[in-house]
Amino acid sequence: MSENKTILELQGVHKSYGNIHALRDINLKVNEGEVLCLLGDNGAGKSTLIKILAGVHTPTKGQIFLDGKPKSFNRPKEAQELGIATVHQFGGTFPLMSIGRSFFAGVEPTIGWGPFRFFDRKTANRIAVESVQNFGITRIDDGDRKVGGLSGGERQSLAIARAVYFGARVLILDEPTAALGVKQSAHVLRIVNEAKKRGLAVIFITHQVMHALAVGDHFAVLIRGSVAADFKKGEKTREEITDLMAGGEDMSALEANIHA
């Protein structure tokens, strides 16, 4: 696997929000056809890291390389155009818009030309509905329905479907399964694997060891803003990973403690 070509690489990336240092000297490789699981405690800096890759934030220090060439994303748009699609931890859909319009917000398909390039509703709805149904959510069949009418799980799936559709090269998912039921989660995991097979690089954030183990090829653990561990599938046991996710503390103790 490790032969896989590296798409994204971070070198010595720092990010601080004023006086709190969310990220310290991050070095990380993201290879195509590989799922990178980003693990870590609450507040470890996971979302901050992927926001930098998504162009939402710019690093305070450090460099990002795309295909080996230094790049800096100043706006989400730029990252998108380079084929990096992200599902952020919160939001991502527009309750008052139709499924089709919400799906294509910011990258509307158009017909016609010149000043008469109009939003292509039909195409938009068709693609949106198809992509969502891929998630086994077959109840959704009308692209004109308002997103506000969907359940939390359905909305989450819609957001992911969008990313998958636009994620030409890199797909970033920030806790996509947090609000989802086991079935929907399973679907998401399936999608992740499919994307990987299609040669995409996937960054997958989760707090659930099981999910991480189910899809991860490569694991990076953040503790208080720095990379505490970076290892391949099978190099560590589930217990070790769990401990790392807990910020290095011995979970078995804690777990025992649960019933104590």
Binding site: R75, P76, T93, L96, S98, R101, G106, K146
Partner: protein, 348 residues
């Protein structure tokens, strides 16, 4: 209470599912008031070409500004500085081309440029600071108003200027056509079409809705929300300037007094048109009929025997009624539980 809340969310659910449209209820409100005034205003020729022209002309002069104000509201912002931009642009053209006798085309360009600048300032301050647009534009309202007055007196020794535009300008901006319809009406109708395509057909329209729906998600989706808002603020000022231009050329005279009334009239039109004050939802046709509804109530009363002093009261009630009909759309923002819970609070 059970049944109540049920019916309620039931109604909401319906609105969510079969995308019931605000323009329907705006059209409904329009028809209702039209019928009412047709009855009460019959013997005073409310229903006549001339009669119609009165409220259509008025609708046009408000609607020209209501449209962009509506866009801003959908995008989650407010602009009340229009109350000062209108007289400011009228005075600018009046002073430049009237008092100083500059060529009209130059006066027009400079006037629109001035408006462009005000819009730019509004947009920049709103997007770069955390200050809510209501306050920002309230400040520019006062600032622009004060400046207009000062400069008018400085340059012309008067707060009013006369300006007789050349014929071509008259035909374009300020003459009366058959049946008493003014040039501005045609501008309004033209913009209705253009803005409809903009808001509902073009990709940018999609951006407006997304920005107002969830600012952060919109930005993450790659929409240049800040530039979009700035553009909308500019559009708003420029449209207001166009209205001001039509006014000074139509009436051959401009005054510098800030037009506070305009602020209320535009907001009323937009909200009666079914735009969500909280942003993210609204339709152009809705605003169109919202404006007509306001216009009829405002002007129609003059065709009736109702005491004129009551017209404010009627406007108030009409506003409540219209918004009531549209109120349901708030629920689209999954506020169902809210209202439901609220009832409970009251019950006891």
């Amino acid at each position: 209470m059970n049944s109540k809340s049920t019916n309620k969310s039931n109604f909401f659910k319906i609105t969510i599912e079969n995308i019931k449209r605000p323009e329907i209820s705006a059209l409904f409100a329009f028809i209702v008031v039209f019928i009412i005034f047709s009855i009460f205003g019959w013997d005073k020729n409310f229903v006549s070409l001339m009669g119609a022209s009165t409220w259509i002309n008025y609708a046009a002069s408000v609607g020209l500004i209501a449209f962009p104000v509506g866009f801003l509201m959908i995008a989650g912002e407010l602009d009340i500085s229009v109350g000062a931009v209108l007289p400011a642009s009228a005075m600018t053209l009046g002073i430049l081309s009237g008092y100083y006798e500059l060529p009209t085309w130059l006066g027009l360009i400079l006037t629109l440029g001035m408006a462009f600048l005000v819009g730019l300032i509004n947009g920049l301050i709103v997007t770069r600071t955390q200050v809510p647009s209501l306050i920002v534009t309230l400040a520019t309202l006062f600032a622009v108003g004060g400046l207009t007055l000062t400069l008018a007196i400085l340059f012309t020794d008067s707060t009013l200027v006369a300006y007789y535009a050349p014929d071509w300008a008259k035909y374009l901006f300020g003459t009366v056509y058959y049946g008493g319809f003014r040039s501005i009406v045609f501008w309004w109708l033209a913009l209705t079409l253009i803005f409809f395509l903009f808001l509902h057909k073009s990709p940018w329209g999609n951006w407006v809705f997304a920005t107002g729906g969830d600012l952060e998600s919109a930005r993450n989706a790659g929409i240049p929300t800040a530039r979009l808002k700035i553009a909308l603020f500019i559009l708003c000022s420029v449209c207001t300037a166009l209205a001001g231009i039509c006014q000074v050329i139509q009436f051959n005279s401009a005054q510098s007094a800030t037009n506070f009334a305009l602020i209320f009239n535009t907001i009323i039109s937009v909200v009666v048109g079914g735009v969500l004050l909280t942003g993210g939802f609204g339709t152009l046709i809705g605003i169109f009929f919202g404006t007509l509804t306001l216009a009829i109530v405002q002007q129609g009363i003059n065709f009736t025997n109702i005491d004129r002093n009551l017209s404010n009261l009627i406007i108030g009630i009409m506003l409540l009624f219209a918004v009531f009909v549209n109120g349901s759309f708030q629920s689209l923002t999954s506020k169902v539980i809210t209202s439901d819970g609220d009832d409970k609070d009251e019950k006891s």
